[in-house]
Symmetry: C2
Subunit: 734 residues, 2 copies
């Protein structure tokens, strides 16, 4: 039966229930003037029996709050048929976090980016409440709504202020509100165990609930789980009150069995190692029964802000084919050093052996040691900084956790049990899909890392070649300089040193060819012939690469099938009694689930995983080659640098020598013209140097005279020869 209800500006239909609680229900309604969908909260008889001031509290609180992370109040109006006030709020089409966590996709917790949003939004909403001295008193996933904005953004918002009230910082309250699993142990003690009746509580009860909620969101499970669940109240209280500081979960796996305490988030949690390290202390600070040790609101807000303000840097570590995340403070003075240390902690590659590539460039060429993390290039999961270990050229994949088992259905039709089994199958299906997607990502990033390293090597080798060609131009010019100087030497004095340098210059050519040859060879092999690319293509040719074989799409398709069947069985459960026909199809869906489960498991274990194992082996072989070339190029780079030094040093020596020779000449002439009438001391010293060369000069004069004589003889011969030819010679009268 569908009933139309209305208030001044809104209508709703009693069949479109969004949720029901003790004091009323929430319906999807519509604005009469623009058709805009809204949520309408109505109150039942029971709620009207509460004291008037308690009834008014919710309206007052709602009128007071105004924040992006609190569900917006649109109006408080009267039900047109006199059923009392109704609260009209914006509609959160994403449902509650409770529904989201209940989905088999999130059995092992929300994905990291979604966890981040919850953390940010829940904290911001809570901060707004605290700033207004409000206590919520019923925080839990069911009261956190997912709002999908028109811009396509997800915003989590706090809702249900039915238990909220004003409460100053150190004020206390006595009344009992909240939901068992999320209750602060003190409240739990009084409300659930009905002990210590006179206890009163502070706003801190909200912090505990946030802790439980965040643990639930991060892992898909409650942190404190007595055997048998909710009904095992004493053990529940024991766990929450007896746990040691730093413990964030306690689980009892057998009846009356021991509690298994945990100080870390479970392996199946989908947060990265880097983020887990930040979130764990946060949870420990919130899930702390001891009032002295428990974090204050301010501490909580600051620590969360601190986490949110960190910059995430995505890294893909080739030698383990795994993605890691580094969270960095934005005001670090020594960023590069700490960045490498963080990497070292997560990878065991020591800072000196980290080859970090962004695009096809060394990270160190893009950032200075003190560049703040904000100045680092933007990374993303599929655009990470690539990390190669220079020391270690092995590739070892990390071991997977064991895959949870697909449930097997009992033979008969049991609508209740079948739906649960189907949901479990979906959970496992989603886990398979996540692993397949992860392997596909590894495949993509391995290939991308290889491409980038090849790019770097090519650029390096090209630069080396270009540089060496440039040096060759310089060298040959210097050679000419030396050669000229050597020619000049016969007309000069400082004979031996020039000869010495000229020999050195000549030997440069040989030195150089010892560097140039390997550079050219490497260039030919790895730039022109592109051996590294070919090598990878050849060796990886037979791999059924998941990214090229639509593995992600197949896994999505198969999970969709599982979900369709689960939905079918859910509908069957809602119907309760099935007709004969329906039972036939019900049975077929169970077969389909079993078959689809087998297929997705086979896709993961028989196709995708073996492909990645094979790829990692090829990668190891390939990297051994690439690493060698990288190291060779590094050595050649050093050789070329020291060659460069020698080159320019020789040039400078040659120039110095030439300048000396010129100066000597000039000074001599100057000395003559000034007549040496009053020699100064420096002049005197110079003279001494000069006089020691006088003998050489005289001998040189003699030599020239004999050449002149030879020349004259020669010229005469030449004149004769020229005339013998009978050709007219200009100026032949000579």
């Amino acid at each position: 039966m569908s009933f139309l209800r209305g208030s001044l500006n809104y209508v709703w239909c009693t069949t479109s229930v969004l949720g029901k609680g003790a004091t009323g229900a929430v319906f999807q309604g519509v604005n009469k003037h623009n058709g805009e969908p809204v949520a309408v909260k109505t109150f039942n008889q029971l709620s009207h029996m509460r004291p008037y001031e308690v009834q008014m509290r919710e309206f007052e609180v709602l009128r007071k709050v105004k924040h992006d992370n609190i569900v917006k109040l649109l109006a408080i109006e009267d039900d047109q048929e006199g059923r009392g006030k109704v609260i009209v709020m914006e509609l959160c089409t994403g449902g509650s976090l409770f529904n989201i966590l209940d989905d088999p996709e999130n059995t092992y917790g929300l994905p990291q980016h979604e966890f981040f949003l919850v953390l940010e939004h829940l904290t911001a909403g809570m901060k707004h409440l605290r700033d207004n001295n409000l206590v919520h008193r019923d925080l839990k996933p069911g009261n956190i709504m997912k709002f999908l904005s028109e811009e396509g953004l997800t915003i989590y918002k706090l809702t249900d202020f039915g238990a909220a009230r004003e409460l100053e910082e150190n004020q206390q309250f006595m009344s009992l509100y909240g939901t068992e699993e999320y209750l602060h142990p003190d409240m739990y003690e009084r409300a659930v165990l009905r002990k210590s009746v006179n206890r009163s509580f502070t706003a801190n009860v909200d912090l505990w609930s946030i802790g439980v909620t965040l643990y639930h969101v991060a892992t898909g499970n409650l942190p404190f789980r007595p055997f048998g669940g909710r009904k095992n109240k004493e053990v529940m209280h024991h766990i929450t009150t007896k746990k040691l500081p730093g413990v964030i979960a306690g689980i009892q796996l057998t009846e009356n069995g021991p509690i298994e305490w945990a100080r870390n988030l479970p392996d199946h949690c989908q947060l990265s190692t880097g983020l887990k390290q930040l979130v764990t202390p946060l949870l420990a600070g919130l899930l702390e029964e001891n009032q002295k040790r428990m974090w204050s609101f301010d501490r909580f807000f600051n620590e969360v802000l601190n986490i949110l303000n960190k910059k995430t840097v995505h890294i893909f570590y080739i030698n383990r084919a795994s993605s890691i995340e580094i969270f960095m403070e934005s005001d670090d003075a020594n960023t590069l050093f700490h960045f490498k240390e963080h990497i070292s902690l997560q990878t065991e590659v020591n800072p000196d052996s980290q080859l970090l590539l962004y695009g096809e460039e060394h990270l160190e060429d893009l950032v200075a040691p003190n560049t703040s993390i904000k100045g680092y290039p933007e990374t993303a999961i599929f655009n990470p900084i690539m990390l190669f270990s220079i020391e270690n050229n092995n590739v070892c994949l990390q071991n997977d956790q064991e895959l949870p088992k697909f449930p097997s259905f009992p033979v008969g039709v049991s609508v209740e049990n079948d739906a649960s089994m189907a949901k479990l199958a979906c959970s496992v299906g989603h886990e398979c899909k996540r692993r397949i997607i992860n392997y596909t990502k590894m495949d993509t990033l391995i290939n991308s890392g290889i491409e980038k390293l090849i790019g770097l090597l090519k650029t390096t080798l090209n630069k080396l070649l270009q540089k060496s060609r440039y040096f060759e131009d310089i060298r040959s010019t210097i050679y000419e300089l030396a050669d000229t100087l050597e020619t000049l030497v016969s007309a000069d004095i400082c004979h031996d040193e020039v000869k010495q340098i000229c020999m050195e210059v000549k030997s440069l050519k040989e030195d150089f060819s010892r560097i140039l040859e390997p550079i050219q060879q490497l260039n030919n092999r790895f730039c022109v012939e592109d051996i590294l690319t070919r090598e990878w293509k050849t060796s990886s040719r037979d791999i059924k690469s998941p990214s090229k074989h639509y593995s992600n799409e197949k896994s999505k398709h198969l999970v969709e099938r599982l979900r369709d069947s689960w939905q079918h069985l859910l509908r069957d459960r809602a119907t309760r009694s099935l007709t004969y026909n329906d039972e036939q199809f019900h049975a077929l869906e169970k077969i389909k689930i079993a078959e689809t489960g087998k297929r997705i498991k086979a896709l993961l274990n028989d196709i995708v995983k073996p492909a990645i194992i094979m790829e990692a082996e090829c990668l190891a072989d390939w990297y051994k080659m690439a690493q060698t070339i990288y190291l060779q190029a590094q050595i050649l780079e050093k050789d070329l640098s020291s060659y460069e030094e020698t080159l320019f040093e020789l040039r400078d020596r040659l120039i110095r020598m030439k300048e000396e020779m010129k100066r000597d000449n000039t000074e001599m002439k100057k000395n003559i013209s000034c007549g040496f009438k009053e020699p100064s001391i420096s002049m005197l010293k110079k003279r001494i140097e000069i006089s020691s060369d006088v003998k050489n000069m005289l001998e040189f004069q003699k030599e020239i005279r004999s050449i002149l004589q030879e020349n004259e003889d020669l010229i005469k011969m030449l004149q004769n020869v020229a005339f013998d030819d009978g050709n007219s010679i200009e100026n032949s009268h000579l």
Copy 2:
């Protein structure tokens, strides 16, 4: 009422109808053994009244065909309750092309990539039929199914072989099959107009139907549309038979009005200009009543293959902020030339003025003039080659077509009309969304183009600077060489030339600083200070950039709302009579459609479009600056090249000169020792050259003698000076 039916291996439910026809219905069924969903075609009483051989034909044809683009036969089984044979086929979850074209999203035709798939798959399926001598005889969108593979790929498949039969190439048939709008005019004449009873037909009738289908898919409309539609049979026949060759559509807009003929695809069609140019002749070849002019199957298959084999190159033309596509033959010997010509045709930028960038590099640096198009870099809509006109630094946006009007609902509730109006509103909403997405794409690509041009300019300027530094090293070494040679000159003959070169070498420094200075300035401004990036950021700061303001997401959200309301009104139409409550909500949906329509129109016209107009203005200003720098850099590049030439030319001259001087020395000595006893002819020639220099040599001798005399005087003076100092001088007895 739901009835369970079954055959040996399959079950289906009579409520899950996928489609109904004259001879039977198709249901969604399930494989009993693995739960796999299938399509089951059952036959009705009427079908069993057909001759046995006709009934068998469909089975025979189905057993004969086996192709990816024909719906796969899984089994032919007997209905377990004796209702005859059933055909079990693979399930095409995407529905038929008829349903797809009926969606308001596709009112103006399918998007290009989807059109391409239909063209490829329809042709391949048809080719398989022809290869097996089969004629389909009822090709139309309703018989083309969309199959979504597990890999997430779309495959279109031919189905419904109820009218199919074997027919050799030139064989004819008499029976009438098919669907009016898609009928070949000859068949139409006999079947619909009931004229010329004795006419027979060939397999070509399928070609005509393919033509009509492809036009429908490309435009969302039928090509031949008499006023009043289907019932206006005579005009329909008139249009199809009287149309001129090359005409691909004929539309009668008023009763008994003239036919508007079209030789081109309409503007609203979503194919790119480049693709339209290829598809139009194809349609004209198929929609040709004249048997002689109509294309043969072979021609059709070849032409389609030709289109599909072309490589698509995506280009973004900055000066018009529009995407264009170039379709290139893969075996073109002169690709770059033709590529630029193709671009020129679509943009009016002549080949010499095309600045083509891929990444941050000139296209010409990535491909040679004769590189085949397969060797061109892979482009995509969001990774195009960027085209800047070097000649023209204006930016002019293309004018939009007028936006179709949102319908306004009449006041009363009319379930029939309201649903149609709602669908129309969705069509317009989708068109708004497409335009918003296009503007957002323009925004993204403008920014990407700017980034790439900046990247190119930076690399160019950096290279120039590096090169000029290298030349400076060379120049200074050459200078030293010249200087040394000049020093040497006093001991040699060819005095003037050396002096000349040395002067030239000295003047190089000045020449060079005239090039180096602007290079350094440009580098400082555009690489170090990054003025171009800053300039763009500053000038575009106030633009509400659609890509950064979630315009696409908003438009998607609004269109989803329109569609939700449309679906609501569709359900109301199916219900026929609405309760009072339902009527209230029905009215609200109409309000919602009107409001949502206004909002999406406002988003397009008041926010997104003005933002892009403003962005284009900023772009024009920015490009004027960037273009100037580009041209400056080009000039400097040329200057540097000619400087390089001069530099190395001078070096070579210097070296030659030095060598000559050395050789002269050596030759002289050699000539003297060999004594010229038997001069050979070459020796004689040499002598003539030498004799012309004899006079100079004699004068030179004289000069030297006088220098020697001076020297001797000088040496004497030096000796005196040295002895005056009273220091011991070695060999002082001189």
